[in-house]
Each structure stands twice: as C-alpha cells, then as structure tokens.
C-alpha cells in the first residue's frame, strides 16, 4: 500500500501528521505534508486509512 499527497490540494491542516506521524512530515517552508515511507507498513495501514479519510481537502489517496 502506498499513500500519496496531492500538493496542490494540501493546505497544511496536519491531521495526517497528527494521526500517523510515522508516515507524514510537514515541509518547514510551505507547511505541506510529505510521505516519509515508500510503502505503508502493515501495522500503520489502519492509521494511514484514517489519515486519508480525515483530510479535509481530500488531498490524500491510497494505492491500492
């Protein structure tokens, strides 16, 4: 499973980071979210899904 951030939509709400800091970090300059891991480890899948669902901008997506 991979998670992607649409940087055009991301506005730095940081819900993803609050829900799963292992997976997301915020860029210091533009405050946008960036994914730290190339694939989502099994133990983080639940929180990754929650982060995707909770993003107010619909800026996150999962593949598959």
């Amino acid at each position: 499973m991979r998670v992607m951030v649409d940087l055009a939509r991301c506005q730095g709400h940081a819900r993803c980071r609050a829900i799963c800091p292992e997976l997301f970090e915020l860029d210091e300059i533009d405050q946008k979210s960036h994914v730290k891991l190339p694939t989502v480890p099994l133990e983080l899948e639940g929180r990754a899904k929650r982060a995707v669902n909770e993003c107010p901008e619909s800026a996150l997506s999962l593949d598959p």
Binding site: G12, L26, P56
Partner: protein
C-alpha cells in the same frame, strides 16, 4: 419557519432568513442546522438585496473553499455591500495576492511553532485557573475564555503584557458591545480607533527597538521587494486578533458547558489525557463556531444552484461537520469517534492560520483544568445565552465546584 419553492428556481427559499439574527438560530445553534438540512442540502435566503445561497453539505463547502477563482473572499459577510467590507489582510484577498502575505505569517503559526510555545501556553493556562480555583466558582467566559488566548496572542505579537488591561478593555468594547448599548456604533468605532492608534505606536516603536516578535518581523518583511505599509501592518494585526481571540474563546465555552453537563466525559479526559486531542477534534466538529461566506466571482451552476456574479454563498461549518453523508451518527457527539472529518478550520488557501495554535490551546486547557478542577457544574439557575453571528460563543458560563483542598 418554512421554506417555499418557486417553479422558476428549484432551490428552496427561506423567506427573510438571516442566520446572524434569527432567534431560533441563537437558541438552538448548532443543532439547528440539522433541522434546516431536513429537506435540502442547499437553500437560499432573500433577506438582502441579492441572492444568498446556504450550502450545508461537506463536499459543497469544501469545493467553495478550494475554488477561490469562482468564490472570492473579497467579501466574507453575506449581508453587507461589497464596498462595506473592511480589508482584512490576508483574509479578504484571493490568490495570487493572498499568498504573498500568507507566506509571511505561516512560520509564526506553523505546527512546529505551536509545539514550541506549548510550555508558555500551559504556564498562562495554569496561572489563570489558579486565580479562581480556591473561590469555587468562575464565569468561564470572563475569567478564562476571554483572557487565555488573548495573553498568548499578545506575547506572539509583542504587545507589552503590562498594557494588557488597557488593550483587553478596548478589544472587549469592540467585539462585545451590543447594538442595543451602542446603536450608532460610536463606542465600538472609538475602541477600534484606540486600538489602531496603539498598534500604530507599537509598530513605530518596534521599527526603532526591534524585538523577537511578530510586529517587529512584519516591520522588516518585504513583499514584491518593498516593505509593508503601515496600513497593511494594521490590517494584518487587526485580522489576527479578530481571528484568534473570539474563536478560541467561543470553543472553550462550548467545551466547558459540554463537560460540565457530562461527568463521564470529564472523567475520561481527566483520567486519560492522551485521549484529549481526539476529543478536541470532536468538539471542533460538533460545536463548530464559524459561519463564513464568499462572493460569487463567475456565473456558475453549483450544487444545483444557478449562481450569478455578486451572489453570496454562506458556509456554516457547523452544518458541514454534521453532514450525515460524511460520518456515521453525524448528529451525535462521540468522544471516542474513531474517524473524524470537519471543516471547522475551513479549507483551501484560507485554511485557518491559527489552527495548530488553537488545537494546542484547547488541549492544554482541558488537560490543566481537569487536573485541578475535575468536578464542576453549571451554577444552578444560570441563564445561558449565546451569540451566533460570524463566530458563535456563549455569553456567560458560571461554573461552581467544591473546594475542600
């Protein structure tokens, strides 16, 4: 209250509705939006001389927030004429102009900065709670909610804390004087002028005597290779305090009324402070306090509405937070909701700058309060009223508790 439909326009009309002074709204906010949603996710009002579209759904509001080229922020109130919108930089600017100012402010309100100042937030919070704990009572509004975010704000801006009494007095007058007490707005205008004069003096002082604060930073910032003008500095300062004070204060009033009436939730948050951040999201969703608006900049068919340039779109975030299409049991408060989603801090380019700081302030308040005052209730017989225009909040919240230690 009832809506009607016209053959020429299928969107239900709510005749004469003005959410800012509707008496049912003032009594039953925020649950009232569930009732208004009953037969349509959209309705329109005709209280002013132009179309006002109320969008209640999450996805519709999200799109409006995001599509700033169609929905402009040059007016953010539904019932005033465009020429009467005071410029609040950067709130009333659209991209790309908006971003030029926003990027100057972002670092001061980043998530990292909010984390960094958490100890100072905590210190101020504890100081305030200790000031009334032994008395066994307080009015949460005047003794806590209005003071707590203000002090933090003043520290960030660099406003001298010794002057805080004076400054708070003007803010209180500007933001909380009723139309009844000030029918021609002269009292509020005078308070606004005092604040402008005071900020103007501070700006000049910081130009000569720089400190490590936001006002100093703004006097040295450049935009398009020029310094900010005094007008811009004032406008930004005004916006920051308008956006940062009543908002956090309003949320605190709903949070503490809820917890005063729900001992099980109090106990849970007191015994498990790690559950506070998720609870804060649910408070933000369920008691969303902001209703904002946009002006239509381009003719567009949107959410089944034929919108024309100049129409206003109203975005009640309490309604989108309770959209049944978004969350299970959206109309219920669930302190351990496994999945949340709300637009209480908006979306798109104007996403609330202070959202990270606000979350810190609210979490710290809940944590530190329940460490010291785990049990409390609303004073018996208290009449609790609320104001709902723009930013909602309770007018008063007298709380009482046992003092046996």
């Amino acid at each position: 209250m009832s809506k009607t439909s016209e053959a020429s326009n299928p969107v239900p009309l709510f005749p004469h509705f003005n959410h800012e002074n509707d008496s049912a709204m003032a009594r039953e906010y925020p649950a009232i939006w569930d009732v208004l949603r009953h037969d349509s996710r959209v309705f329109r009002g005709d209280a002013s001389g132009w179309e006002v579209w109320y969008l209640l759904g999450f996805d519709d509001q999200r799109e409006v927030f995001q599509k700033s080229e169609i929905f402009s922020s040059r007016v953010v109130s539904p019932f005033i004429q465009e020429k009467d919108q005071p410029p609040w930089i950067p709130l009333t600017l659209d991209p790309p102009e908006h971003q030029k100012y926003r990027r100057l402010l972002n670092p001061w309100f980043s998530e990292a900065t909010a984390k960094e100042i958490t100890p100072r937030v905590r210190e101020r919070c504890v100081e305030l709670i200790e000031s009334f704990r032994a008395a066994g009572r307080c009015d949460l509004v005047t003794d806590f909610a209005r003071l707590y975010p203000t002090h933090i704000f003043m520290k960030i801006m660099g406003l001298p804390v010794e002057e805080s009494g004076k400054f708070l007095g003007w803010i209180d007058e500007l933001m909380h004087t009723s139309d009844a007490a000030d029918p021609d707005r002269s009292l509020r205008l005078r308070a606004q002028q005092e604040i402008a004069r005071y900020l103007g003096e501070l700006i000049n002082l910081r130009r000569k005597d720089p400190r490590d604060d936001l006002v100093t930073y703004l006097t040295r910032a450049t935009l398009d290779d020029r310094p900010l003008t005094d007008m811009e500095l004032l406008s930004i300062s005004f916006l920051l305090y308008m956006a940062g004070l009543d908002t956090v204060a309003g949320m605190l009033t709903y949070i503490f009324r809820h917890l005063a009436e729900n001992p099980g939730h109090r106990a849970k948050l007191g015994e498990h402070p790690e559950s506070i951040p998720d609870a804060v999201e649910e408070f933000l969703r369920y008691y969303a306090i902001v209703t904002t608006a946009r002006v239509v900049a381009r003719d567009v068919e949107f959410a089944g509405c034929p919108m024309r340039v100049g129409d206003r779109v109203v975005l009640p975030t309490a309604a989108s937070g309770r959209d049944p299409g978004q969350l299970a049991d959206a109309g219920k408060f669930m302190i351990d909701r496994p999945q949340n989603r709300h637009l209480s801090f908006g979306a798109g380019p104007h996403r609330c700058l202070g959202s990270h700081l606000a979350r810190v302030e609210l979490s710290v308040a809940i944590e530190e309060w329940h460490r010291r005052i785990p049990d409390y209730r609303i004073e018996p017989g208290a009449k609790i009223t609320q104001h709902v225009a723009g930013v909602a909040g309770l007018d008063t919240l007298p709380l009482v508790w046992e003092t046996n230690r």
